[in-house]
Amino acid sequence: MGNSEYLLEVKNVSKVFPGVKALDNVSFDLKPGEVHILLGENGAGKSTLMKVIAGAYSPDGGELIIDGQPAANLNPRKAQDLGVGIIYQEFNLVPYMNVAENIFIDQLPVKHFFRIDHARMHREAKEILASLNMNVPTTAKTMDISTAQQQMVEVAKALTHKSRILIMDEPTASLTDREIDQLFLTIRELRAKGMGIIYISHRLQELKEIGDRVTVLRDGKYIGTRNLAEVTIESLVTMMVGREVGELYERVDVTPGEEVLHVEKLSSKAVGLHDVSMNLRRGEIVGLAGLVGSGRTELVRAIFGADRHDAGQVTIFGENMKGSAPKDSVRNRVGLLPEDRKRQGLALILSVAENTLMASLDKIFPGGLVNARKEKDLVDGYIKSLRIQTPSGSRSAQYLSGGNQQKVVLAKWLATESEIFIFDEPTRGIDVGAKREIYGFMNRLKQKNCAVLMISSELPEVIGMSDRIFVMREGSIVAEVPHDEATQEMIISYAMGADVAPARRSAADGARPLPKADA
């Protein structure tokens, strides 16, 4: 091992992809015993830099120095040998294998030449897990343990490789608050042992709690490195977006119009919905809050016709949608922007243009023939008005960042001339700048007298954007809260079933009785 002050130095690294300069002359360094946060919007180059360090991408220029030694021609295996461990957002675990097997997957201890030494494997796995304060049987299959525990298995895996540099890509993205506390405890212990940790995150709140230094990237360029003790979050946000963000949630006032969606006592045994009643009017944004698994996605899928329901009624623009499929909802001017954009919103290998017109082929080309000129004009129009960052409409959607992919899904529903827009977690995995833009588009839809239904797990978002909020718990709507009365505490207590207050009714919407929560 070298005696360098730095575990890792990245000097003037560049990386070019077709049509995009993903990294442009970026520098970065990591000392032993520090948590160095990598901050930037989606598409800023964080993931690319991370993959360069881990040897998954080879840089087009610049150099990497690990432990004072130049590390050229890296590949993932070589990087691992040099002590670089990486934990991607999507874990690399084999779900059907147990915890110990996953930890030692590429270096299973053997005895008698070929037999796996199970006793030793489990013993060593237990030791490592104990050092991480993790309490899970090493014989449990990884598919049966929680996300936080799976993450710890990944950390343990990195430790078995004697990693001294650990890269974590948005490690808190799918953890609960308590799990995050536990993770931070672990990270601090690793730091105390002299490990250098590169931590990628979108969550501004947690930066100061866990980080020592922060480096900001924007559009593939290095913007600056700061000591977290000496900066304000606001100044970091300014560095990230290159401008003042101001108020993230802007509110526009529109007088609600006619009711366009009416749900009456909707129930479905299969997906666990009980007697759900709600409505949506023109010119309003209605929020759907609740815990993950409370039935919000199931409700909008049932409304959209993607799942069957066994009782109750959905009325859209006065039409009874009994037995409808998504194609009927699309014809009836409803658009759903699903939570899982990559699986349900887009066909990633197809072009931006093909994705944009996927839902409106019959409407735009009623003769059944695709007019290339008309297609290009339309798609270029959406690219311009929604500020979709892509070299052209023929670029494959997989190369776009999360925010731009979401804009393509939105363009798809603008092309069908939808008037009811259902957003399921519209800003998940999207950076601050694109978030703002999405909120702007939602407000513009509201002003154009369209109706917006938004599922969101981010309470500031749901409170900041919605005119009314329905709170769901265990497949039922337990409260309807008007915007001006909503507080985070109130919504959380409804969502979690802590009966602090009787369910309130919307003042604006006449008094409709709310269904009781099923126990």
């Binding site: 992809f17 909802s329 290998i349 197809l350 023929s394």
Partner: protein, 331 residues
């Protein structure tokens, strides 16, 4: 301003914007050209007018069936039943003509029958939910068995000239009708896939069935249409084949069983769906046919031919995959 900044850099930028699949298609055509030149250098007969005409005509039925499979593979998965559809529909048409029925009716009946079998495939896949591989493979055996039961090992041959027109007539005295039919099918396939909304739906369903469904596309209907088209094209291929060789027996379609699917993959159409096109299939089929032709010209012993074809399929698809991958990485 130097040449570097004025010419080369903008050119590089343009090059880096070319989609990987475009590179792969160019590579495929180049491989075919190199292959032809190499064969021609060792065997001058290869470039004779007669040999070219025979080789291309031989490729026609393969291409016609391949276009059908290109559509089903883009949409959902391979249609393994085309060889047997070809057989049964050709048998039906041949027997009708032999029985003295007007050849036009025989043609119509064959195409309709092909459509009907394609419909059965489509319904089993889209409505019952069978994997396309299982449905079409099972149907293939059932249909072949049916053809054997009808013909009982006999050969039916010597048909009336009208029936044979699309197989052995030369348009304008020099252009074999199979080539004319093949070119029309390829152009129609290209038009359908690239210029119609139905074609867009094929790609959308194949690229991401869930996203297509959530976009309001009638997925089952789209899949059913793809297999019906494949059935009709298989029947058309059978009519061309039987008209050309002027005879039919129950194993006539056996040679096309998997070759049809292999040439689609060799042509760069993705096995996972949503990507590819008919021109690639044409090139794939030509590579296959040219190599078979070369083996005839060089007198390769028949025992080695299968191994060579097998290696050819693997190498071609491998090159295609490498080309697509490499360019994504480095460009």
């Amino acid at each position: 301003m130097s040449i570097q900044t004025a010419v080369i850099q903008p050119f590089r930028r343009k090059l880096s914007q070319v989609e990987p699949t475009t590179w792969a298609s160019a590579g495929r055509v180049l491989a075919l050209v190199v292959l032809c030149i190499a064969i021609g250098m060792f065997s001058p007969v290869f470039f004779s007018e007669r040999n070219i005409s025979i080789t291309v005509t031989n490729a026609c039925v393969l291409i016609i069936l391949g276009v059908g499979n290109t559509i089903t593979i883009i949409t959902r998965g391979p249609d393994l039943s085309t060889g047997s559809i070809l057989t049964i529909t050709a048998v039906v048409a041949a027997l009708m003509v032999k029985a003295g029925i007007f050849f036009g009716f025989a043609f119509g009946a064959a195409l309709l029958f092909g459509a009907a079998i394609g419909l059965v495939n489509g319904l089993m896949i889209a409505r019952v939910g069978l994997p396309s591989f299982i449905s079409t493979y099972g149907l293939q055996w059932a249909v072949f068995g049916f053809a054997y039961a009808i013909l009982k090992g006999y050969v039916v041959y010597d048909f009336e000239p009208d029936f044979r027109y699309i197989g052995n007539h030369n348009l304008f005295g020099f252009l074999p009708m199979p080539i004319v039919v093949m070119v029309l099918v390829v152009l129609a396939g290209y038009f359908l896939l690239r210029k119609t909304t139905l074609g867009r739906r094929f790609y959308a369903v194949g690229a991401n069935t869930d996203a297509a469904y959530m976009s309001g596309i009638d997925v089952s209907k789209t899949v059913i249409i793809a297999f019906v088209i494949s059935g009709v094209l298989a029947a058309l291929g059978g009519l061309v084949l039987v008209a050309r060789i002027n005879a039919i027996q129950a194993d006539i379609g056996a040679q096309y069983l998997l070759t049809t699917i292999a040439v689609v993959y060799m042509g760069g159409t993705s096995a996972t769906g949503g990507q590819g096109g008919v021109f690639g299939t044409v090139v794939g089929a030509l590579i296959m046919t040219v190599v078979e032709n070369a083996m005839n010209l060089f007198g390769v012993p028949s025992m080695w031919r299968n191994s060579i074809v097998g290696a050819l399929i693997i190498v071609t698809v491998l090159i295609d995959l490498q080309l697509k991958r490499r360019i994504v990485k480095t460009a």
